[in-house]
Structure formats: C-alpha cells, structure tokens
C-alpha cells in the first residue's frame, strides 16, 4: 500500500453530480401521481382562530383536501416534541397545524393538497380564517415583564425554563474583591440560517404494507423517524422510512422535525397518493428555526496581576413560540459551559431565563451556543484589556490555560482534554504582522483612517457527545454514532454511516479513512448515508460530530473487518491468526510475503466459506456503535482586520486570518472549506445579518431583499494555517471543524470593528455593524478624535 490517504487533499467524489446538475435534492423528485401541498399561514404573530371556512378552497378544481388542525387532532396526530428537557421546563403542545391559536407569523392554520403546486397556492388564498388578533410579544425581555401577553396558557409568565451553572456566592465574592471589573449589556442578534436549499418533503404511502416513506431535507433521518413515528403519528418506527437524499446545506436548520413533514405524511395516507411540499424562501424565513437571539448582562473581574478571576453572566434566551428539537440545550449546556474559553478563570456563574415569544422558534444554528459564549467572552476580554491599558493579545497570553494544566477542569462542568493556545496565537500574530499592523493603525488614525484589528482566541466543545453525560443533562436521545462496513465477495466495500453529509464531503473523507484502514483502493469504497431503510440506527450530523464520532465508529468497524480477515487469512495460510500481519494491502505471515493473501482472496472466501475456519461465521461485515468518552475541544486564534469609513459607517473586511487546531486533518481541502464557510457565516452575523421583528411580531427582514447574507464581494481570501493537537480519546485523534469558523469569526470581526471605533470612545455596539448603525454611533460619539476634526 502506498502512502496513507488520511491527510491528503483528495478531490471530492460527490462533486461530479453537483457540477453537472445531476444531484438529487428532495424538490428535484417527482413520482407518479404526486400531489402538492401549500400551507395557509398566519399573517398575525398572535391571534385566536375563531373559525376557518375552507369551502371555497375545497370547491376549486384540482383541490383534493383542505386539512385543518382540528382534523389532525381528531385523527390522533400528536404535537411535535422537544428532545431536551430541563427541570421544571414548560413544554406546551406544538401542533403541526395549530387548531386554536396562531403564535407566530407563519404558524400553519390549514394545508391544501392539490394536483399542482399552482392550484394549491391559489387555493391557500381562498381559505377564509376568522382571526381575532391578540397583543404580541417579540423581545425576550419584554415577554418577561409583568402583564406581557402570554404566548401559551401553560406558561402565563412566558417562562419556558430557567437554568444556571456555577457557584453564585463564590463568584460574587470574587467580584467584591476584584481589582477591576467591566460590565457589558450585549445583544446577540437573531439570525435566519438560510441554507441555500429551502426545506422540502415528499411523503409516500404504501397501502398494502401500511408503510410510509418520507424524503426530506434532514441532517439526521433517524431522529426525524423517531419523533414522527413514536411521538407524533403513533405508528411503529419500522413502518416509516426516512430518506435524506442530497441536502443543500443545513447549519442546524435541518436537524429539527418540522410541521410540514407531518402534514405531507398524514395527507399521503389520507389521499393514498404521494404528496410533496417545498418551501418558498419567504416561507423558510418564517418557519425554519432561527438562531441566537440573546440579551445578556456580562461582567468580568480581574485581580491586580491582570488575571481573570471571575465571570458573571445573566442571559435572556428567546425560545420563540414553540420548542423545536434541541432548543433547550442551546443557551444552556452548549453556552454556559463554554464561558471559560481558553482562559484560566476561578469562578463563573451563568444564569439563563428562556421565555416564549411570538416569534419563529429559536434553536441551534451553526455553532449553537458556543458563538454566543465566545462573542461575549471575547468582547469582555477586549474591553477589559482596554480598561487595563494592556495590549489585548498580551492580556490573553497572561490568562491562557497552560499546556501542563491538561486535563483542565473548568468551573462550568467541562473537562478540557488537550490544548495549547499560545502557539496558535503566536502563529496568527506572526502571519498578520501584528506589531507593524498596530503601527499602521496608529499612523492611519492620525490621518482620519480607522482600521480595526480584532484578535480572538477561542475554544469549542464539539463531537456531541458522551451519551450518559448528555442524558444526565436532559437529552432525550443517545449521542453515539453507528457504522456498518460491508465487504462484498469481490472486495468492494460499502460503508453505512449514521452521520449525514449535506455539504461536508463525507463520501470522500470517510472513504479515505476506510481505504487506509482496510488497505484497499479508495475507489472500491462507497459511502451510504441518509436512509433509515439502509443504515443502522444513528443520530446524524450536527455539533461537529461527524469526524470525531461518526468516523470513529467507521474506524472501529473497519478494524473489526481487519481482525476477521486475519483469521480467514490465517486459516488459508495454515498459520496462527496472531502471526498474520496486514501490510501493503495483503495478509501474510510475518516475513513470508510471497504467500500473502489479497483482500479479494479473503473477501471471496468469507462468502464462499469453502475452505474456512470451523469456529468462524461466514460473511465479512462489521457494525460498531461508538459512544465518545468526552467532547473534543478544537481551538485557535482568528484575526480580522477591517476598515471603517467614518463618513458612511461602512465596514469593509481587509484581511482575515485563522490558525485552527482541529487535530489531525482527514482532508485539508474539506477542512479548510469548512473554515472558509464558517468564517463567512460569522462575518454575516457581525456585519450584515439581523432578523428584525416589529412590535406586532411581523418579520421585517423576511426575504433576501431585506435580510443580507455575505456576498462574494463582502469577503476576502482567507489566510489560514493550523496547529495539530490530537484529541487523546478517539481512534484518529480528530476533532470537529464544521462550526469553528463561525464560533470564532463573529467575535473577531466584532472586536475589529470596535477596535476601529476606539478613538471615538465607543466601548461597545451591538451587531450587526451596518453602515447606519456605525455612522450613528460615530455621530453620537462623546469623543471626537483629533484627526477627524
């Protein structure tokens, strides 16, 4: 066998279909007899439904059914559950079609099933709903005010749950003794994920077998199947096959089980015909779970040596109108536990209040809790460094957890397994030419030019997750992952994984690793994912878990294949299995290469079983369920350099650098691609993106005209490098890389913009840094820099 493929920049095997327009996304599918669904959605954020008149819609030619919430209730269809529970959490029902009350703009009140999409959409406009509008509440802090409209009768005060971590008294004591403290009121803007493929679902029902098949845009088809079959429809799980074919991006938004999936399944059985629904983008804006939306008061304390002693954080995390699949986990265990970052901190106390509001549900969006934690921690660090008159990188250096201190127990539950933060920062500072850049900044300021340099260090916990641990914290699911490696008589290898690829390139990266483990050509390995009918049970892709958890399962299953192959080869070679070595793609008695058996010889004999060990089962396939021992902890330093035009307020990205440590890299093309895209999404949050509601709960930024994603000319070529600190507890030492870019870049860009604005005496501004917001801040600044006079 030649060089290992692990670590090689292999061209992606999935690309040919995508670059030739032959991918197979859910909305590309068309089956015989297929009907189309269109949803009647509430135009009000909060309204009582007095009556629904469907007669006109029903009478239209081509309309087969108009389904209401009451009909589905009568048919025994249950509400959509959440998958994470905290003590005392309120979980009011979340029906696919709301029978009585609309709780956000976009809440479904009826569904049309028709021969064509056009007819369905025309008919949706003919459904007459008698709404009684109710006062709405949009902002989390407003929902908690006395007398605020109650979103659910089950939570009159709108409190879904409260949660805290850390010791309050000990933290307060450190604040009382502090040399210096800083305090920030921070809003983490609400975002709309906007994967480029809008959600779509196609339901089919086979009457004879009483079986359903759902093609849907999912990051985790088994979770969809479990929730829909066991909790919502009350059918045996094996009677529902969920297939996520090519999926055009997810970023969290396709983890969750959505109302439309239930509706098309119900309709497919009712009408005994396939039913498809595909979202319009403006529907995506009011139905796909949003991300972030925190209001936080955050404080930091340091001692006289400029060492961080304590953090105190109080957050209101808006849940929206209903709880989707992982919502309660995001502003708690994926947030409060991350507040240590890379800094040795004695005590941390974080308290979270999660209210319901009349807005789209909020759940995990790329990074999920960790960008929120990183953003406020890194803002506090920069503000504190400025207060102390210290260079922000030196202040960071002084506070890093040292390599000798691992495993490091934080005051907020996590135990970091490995890390070495200073070399990553030094490498990034050298790449950017930090000292020279600071000199240029000073020179520019004298000429009225405002460049900002944002340096952040970050750490994330990903590779979700040790099952017993998350179970103890409220998860209603396991978080292991499965793999099945099946070898054909010809030596061709099929790998079935519970991980799901919706852009991450698993078909390539995972095949590289299997090829290495089995010592076979990569071309003979095919990856299968996204189909509950073909794979063993699995939990899907999110939380940067595919490499550390999904791939670990594949490695372990592959090693079982090698072990069995050695036994078969030993029999064929009349040797003891322990004398067999696996080298250069062959099985041989050590030192006797001329009598080696090929993988083909072994695979064929495993299936023929003609000349075969008596005590060994025939066949050559292995399954492994891998439950990780801990999270993995990628880290790094990111640097954003921006220019702020004081006359227009426009922020322009000049340079962006990253040094990431995600352990050993399977495929650098893919890992770097994840970093590039992640950085762009984080930049979007910092500068462009904001889901803005008016006081009545209308989403003012409800399409691509009003909600701005990063475009090609907003971004620059990313300069990046890596350090490599392997995870000590998984077979390849790999760590996740899907979310790191986003976790880091929002904070880096924010710090850069506020660094640029420092001469104006502006300590903090909430994102996004739109020209208007920056211009107003400059106009309202207390301090007018000399050169701007």
């Amino acid at each position: 066998m030649a060089d290992k493929l692990m670590g090689k920049a292999m061209k992606r095997v999935e690309d040919p279909r995508f670059i030739t327009g032959t991918g197979n996304y859910t909305d590309d599918m068309s089956v015989h007899g297929m009907l189309h669904a269109a949803m009647v959605r509430s135009p009000y954020a909060h309204a009582k439904i007095n009556s629904i008149d469907t007669s006109k819609a029903k009478a239209m030619p081509g309309v087969l059914a108009v389904i209401t919430g009451q009909e589905m209730l009568d048919a025994g269809i249950k509400g959509i559950p959440t998958g994470w529970l905290h003590a005392g959490i309120k979980t009011p029902p979340h029906y696919a079609i709301t029978p009585d009350k609309a709780r956000h703009v976009g809440d479904i009140v009826a569904a049309i099933i028709a021969e064509t999409r056009q007819i369905a959409e025309d008919a949706a406009e003919q459904v007459v709903v008698d709404y009684e509008p109710l006062p709405a509440v949009v902002l989390g802090s407003k929902a908690l005010e006395r007398g605020a409209p109650a979103v659910h009768a089950e939570a009159e005060d709108n409190v879904c749950f409260t949660w805290s971590i850390g010791d309050k008294a000990e933290t307060d004591a450190l604040f009382n003794q502090a040399y210096k403290t800083v305090k920030l009121n921070i809003r983490n803007n609400r975002l709309v994920p906007n994967a480029m493929e809008p959600r779509a679902s196609l339901a089919q029902y086979a009457k004879a077998a009483d079986e359903y098949t759902l093609h849907t845009t999912s990051q985790n088809p088994h979770i969809h199947r479990l929730l829909i079959a066991a909790f919502i429809m009350g059918i045996p799980e094996h009677k529902l096959r969920v297939i996520a074919p090519d999926v055009g991006g997810g970023f969290g938004s396709k983890i969750y089980q959505y109302p439309e999936e239930v509706i098309v399944l119900y309709a497919a059985k009712k009408l005994n015909r396939p039913v498809k629904w595909a979202a319009r983008r403006s529907e995506s804006f009011v139905t796909d779970s949003h991300g972030r939306d925190h209001e936080t008061v955050a404080e930091m304390a340091v001692d006289a040596n400029h060492k961080i002693t304590a953090l105190r954080v109080d957050t209101i995390a808006n849940m929206g109108a209903y709880l989707t699949t992982f919502a309660p986990a995001v502003p708690t265990y994926l947030y409060g536990t991350l507040l240590t970052g890379t800094y040795k901190t004695q005590k941390i106390y974080c308290h979270v209040t999660a209210p319901f509001t009349n807005t789209v549900p909020v759940d995990a969006y790329r990074g999920a809790g960790r960008p929120e934690a990183t953003y406020l921690l890194e803002r506090l660090v920069d503000v504190m460094a400025a207060e102390l008159g210290e260079d922000p990188t030196e202040f960071r250096r002084k506070n890093f957890i040292q390599p000798s201190e691992f495993p490091y127990q934080t005051p907020v539950a996590l135990q970091y397994d490995s890390g070495n933060y200073e070399p990553a920062m030094d490498k990034a500072l050298e790449m950017v030419g930090y000292k020279e850049l600071r000199r240029q900044q000073e020179e520019g300021r004298q000429q009225g030019k405002y460049m900002g340099i944002g340096v952040i260090t970050f750490l994330e916990a990903c590779g979700l997750a040790p099952s017993a641990l998350v179970g103890s914290l409220g998860a209603q699911a396991g978080q292991w992952e499965s793999a099945l490696v099946r070898v054909m008589p010809t030596g061709a290898v099929e790998v079935f994984t519970g991980s799901h690829s919706h852009g991450q390139g698993h078909e390539t990266a995972f095949a590289q690793v299997v090829a290495d483990e089995l010592q076979v050509p990569m071309e003979s390995v095919t990856l299968v994912h996204g189909d509950t009918g073909r794979m063993p049970y699995g939990w899907g892709s999110y939380g940067s878990r595919s490499a550390p958890v999904g791939l670990s399962a594949i490695v372990m299953a592959s090693r079982k294949i090698v072990d069995k192959s050695k036994k078969i080869a030993a029999h064929l070679l009349e040797a003891a299995p322990e004398d067999i070595v696996h080298e250069d793609g062959k099985y041989m008695v050590k030192g006797v290469p001329d009598k080696a058996k090929s993988f083909f010889d072994v695979a064929l004999m495993a299936h023929l079983a003609h000349n075969y060990p008596a005590d060994l089962e025939p066949g050559l396939e292995a399954t492994h369920f891998y439950d990780p021992k801990n999270f993995v902890f990628p880290f790094g330093t990111h640097i954003a350099v921006v220019d702020v035009d004081p006359d227009t307020g426009k922020v322009a990205l000049r340079r962006y650098l990253s040094v990431d440590d995600c352990g050993p890299i399977v495929n650098p093309l893919i890992a770097d691609g994840q970093i590039h895209g992640g950085i762009a999404q984080g930049y979007g949050q910092a500068v462009l993106e904001d889901a803005v509601y008016d006081d009545e709960g209308q989403l003012l930024t409800g399409n691509f005209l009003e909600y701005t994603l990063p475009r090609a000319d907003d971004m620059v070529q990313i300069e990046h490098d890596h350090t490599v600190t392997p995870s000590p507890h998984n077979p390849l030492g790999v760590k996740g890389i899907g979310e790191a870019g986003t976790i880091a870049s929002t904070a880096a860009v924010a710090n850069a913009v506020l660094d640029a604005l420092r001469p104006f005496g502006i300590q903090h501004l909430d994102m996004p840094y739109t020209p208007e917001k920056v211009w107003r801040a400059i106009q309202g600044a207390k301090k007018v820099p000399q050169a701007a006079d």
Partner: protein
C-alpha cells in the same frame, strides 16, 4: 387560471414546443415541464442566483423571466455545458479547487462564472467577486469559488493550472 399558450424554446440545443400557463416562470418550465432539475430555486426575490441559466448567450436568473418571454430564444442550462467525461473548464475548476460543498448554488454559480469568462477572459479577483455578487453561496465563503474561476480562466487561456487536490 389563465389559458395556456404555446412556446417554442431551444434548450441545450434541443427545440421544445410546450403549452404553458402565461404565469409559468422559466425556471419552473425547465424543472417541471422539461425535468431539467439541475437549475435550482433558492429564493423568491431574484437575489440568490441558484437559477442562473444562459439565454441567448447571456446569464439570466430564470426566476425573473416568464417562460413565454423566452419564446424563440436559446437557453443553456448546467446540463448543457458539459457532462462527466467532457467537463467545461468552469465545472472542472469547481471540482479541482473545491469550489462547492452542498452543491445547491453550484449550477447557478457555474453559469454565472461561465458568462463572466466569456466577457472577460482574464478577470482580477475583484472582478470575479463583483461579477458573482448576484449569486449566494452559504457554504464556501466564496474563497474556493474565486479560485475555481481563476483556474477556469487559466485553463481557457491554454495555461496548465494546478488543482488544489493531491490526487491529480
């Protein structure tokens, strides 16, 4: 529902005569009437560019054009510019430089980039970025898309561009 009208459109070199509703958008004509699902629909406000095709040699967003407006014109879609075994240089560039992840924006991006290179065979990075700003990508941060277009420009200029991948 309005009465159907007849349109004659050449798509990827093949002449089609179809009865369509006047309100049918070109993108839905391509996807639903002709089954050419390589052209995608990513938005409903003509912002995302996933539906970009060529109409009489120019890149257009096929969601902003009614099928009836394409009467008599020549449409080229992603399926018409090259297939496996005979990739167009832009398709090759996207593959070689990892210019795609989920693949959903890719056909529109390739059609827009092809149009750019037909007008400007040697674009600067700024020109590439400016010319692709009508096409959203949520996965790549555009980094490798820019490199893919540069690769294609080099290839079309007869240079021998080096791919980013190790397996070339």
């Amino acid at each position: 529902m309005a009465e159907k009208v007849t349109v004659n459109i050449s798509v990827n070199g093949e002449q089609h005569t179809s009865e369509v509703e006047p309100r049918l958008l070109l993108v839905h004509y391509l996807r639903e009437t002709l089954g050419l699902t390589g052209t995608h629909v990513g938005c409903d406000t003509s912002q995302c560019g996933a539906c970009t095709v060529h109409m009489d040699g120019q890149a257009v967003k096929s969601c902003t054009i009614f099928a009836v407006q394409a009467e008599g014109s020549k449409i080229t879609t992603i399926e018409g510019i090259g297939g496996i075994g005979n990739l167009n240089p832009v398709q090759e560039g996207f593959w070689e430089m990892h210019g795609l992840q989920c693949g959903f924006c890719t056909p529109g991006m390739i059609m827009a980039a092809t149009d750019l290179l037909s007008r400007n065979p040697n674009p600067s990075e700024a020109e590439i970025r400016h010319s692709l700003e009508g096409n959203y990508c949520r996965c790549t941060g555009y980094h490798n898309i820019v490199r893919a277009v540069q690769y294609a420009a080099d290839k079309m200029a007869g240079k021998n561009p080096v791919g980013a991948a190790a397996d070339d």
